[in-house]
Amino acid sequence: MSTDTSDSSRKGTSFSLDTWALIVAFLLALAVRFGVLKNIPW
């Protein structure tokens, strides 16, 4: 269990977690759109 209560917006990383999630999600979407990733199974 993480009870780290520090406000990490002040930490040194340049992007927030949301921004990273957005970047990776849309890179994946581009890869799927242009056929780099095809037929991802489940």
Binding site: T3, T5, S8, S16, L17, D18, W20, A21, A25, F26
Partner: protein, 361 residues
């Protein structure tokens, strides 16, 4: 959910070294998640082969249970910690990708209903938790944190509010422990209650999204019921998360007015800083699918990528739940949280049943 939580800090070395440090933990998340998938498939096949009447235990539950057993029976080596902490990244990635499985019209319709219910839920939750905090004589800022955590989005809301209202680390830890413990319990109680009430997928998804505080637990509890319920739970919870800025701003102004927190000069900038940006990603992804940017097969691939991301999240939910650590945080905040959560669960259930009668969900 706070937008201000950055990637786990894994050290002060080079970016490549930091990236490598998360690999063991991410592999552990993936291993546990995949084991959950294998257990679901093999358990069902075994029961079918032997003509057993056995409830279908979904991969979600297996992944959480394996994580819970590991985190509560052994000490997880530090080597894995940085990677395990990425579970929230996988959650947000999964939510953005899940946008591809929603038609924008459904988002607007269900989101509109969710928004109305969320406003009522937040108002009632804040009032209730404040009342309970005063009754049990909790410290005022601890009461504020518990109220924000239970009204909006659990741990992330507490972390976002901590800086804004200048709360102690100890109060924040108490509030987080209470919210996490109750989130773990809701994983098992919400689906059981919903099954006994024969709730449909949309009603249950709305209830899970409104009644469960942490986004990861709300997503897992929704997926435990059904795939469709999981989608609705994420939508309702995302709508709730979008309100975080307004709630935290109101508390920041309240505490600043009492001279116990810094005044907020630029309210618009404050709201934007606290707004969870992945909500915009979810809406954008849904819009792109609405404009036929992706083929049917590509939409299916994006949906499956979302499921893989959630698989890692569910493993993380189990791994980060340590009951021994939670018990060290004291009983009173937990009792206040538990009482509040039970009442909020009843209230939100009533709201959803009412909405179902009015709109026929």
């Amino acid at each position: 959910m706070a937008s201000s939580i950055s990637l786990p800090r894994v050290g002060s070395g080079s970016p490549l070294l930091n990236a490598l440090r998360i690999v063991p933990g991410v592999l552990l998340l993936a291993g546990i998640g995949y084991a959950g998938k294998v257990l679901e498939r093999s358990g069902n096949a075994y029961a079918k082969a032997h003509h057993w009447t056995f409830p279908n235990i979904e991969y979600v539950l297996w992944a959480i249970l394996i994580g819970l057993v590991i985190s509560n029976t052994m000490t997880i080596p530090k080597l894995f910690q940085s990677g395990i902490d990425t579970y929230e990244f996988w959650l947000k990635l999964g939510i953005v990708l899940l946008g591809s499985r929603f038609v924008l019209a459904d988002v607007l319709k269900l989101g509109g209903i969710s928004l109305g219910l969320v406003v009522i839920e937040i108002t009632l939750s804040l009032a209730l938790m404040t009342l309970l905090g005063r009754l049990f004589k909790l410290k005022p800022k601890l009461t504020s944190l518990l109220a924000i955590g239970s009204a909006v989005c659990g741990v992330s809301a507490i972390i976002a509010a901590k800086g804004a209202i200048d709360a102690d680390d100890e109060d924040s830890s108490f509030a987080i422990a209470a919210i996490l413990a109750l989130g773990a319990l809701s994983l098992f109680t919400f689906p059981a209650i919903a099954h006994s009430l024969h709730m449909n997928d949309v009603s249950y998804g709305l209830w899970a999204g409104l009644g469960i505080d942490n986004t990861a637990e709300a997503t897992a509890a929704g997926a435990l019921y059904s795939d469709a319920a999981g989608k609705v739970a994420v939508l309702a919870k995302t709508t709730r998360n979008a309100m975080i800025g307004f709630v935290v701003l109101a508390y920041a102004i309240y505490w600043a007015g009492r001279g116990q927190a810094e005044a907020v000069d630029n309210k618009a900038a404050f709201l934007w800083k606290k707004f969870p940006k992945f909500v915009l990603g979810f809406l954008l992804m849904s819009s792109l699918v609405g404009f036929h940017v992706f083929s049917k097969g590509q939409v299916a691939s994006l949906g499956n990528l979302s499921k893989w991301a959630f698989l890692l999240t569910f493993a993380g939910v189990g791994l980060r739940t340590n009951f021994r650590d939670m018990s060290k945080q004291g009983l009173r905040p937990f009792i206040v949280g538990a009482l509040g959560e039970i009442l909020i669960a009843c209230l939100t259930l009533g709201l959803v049943v009412g909405a179902n009668r009015i709109w026929g969900l």
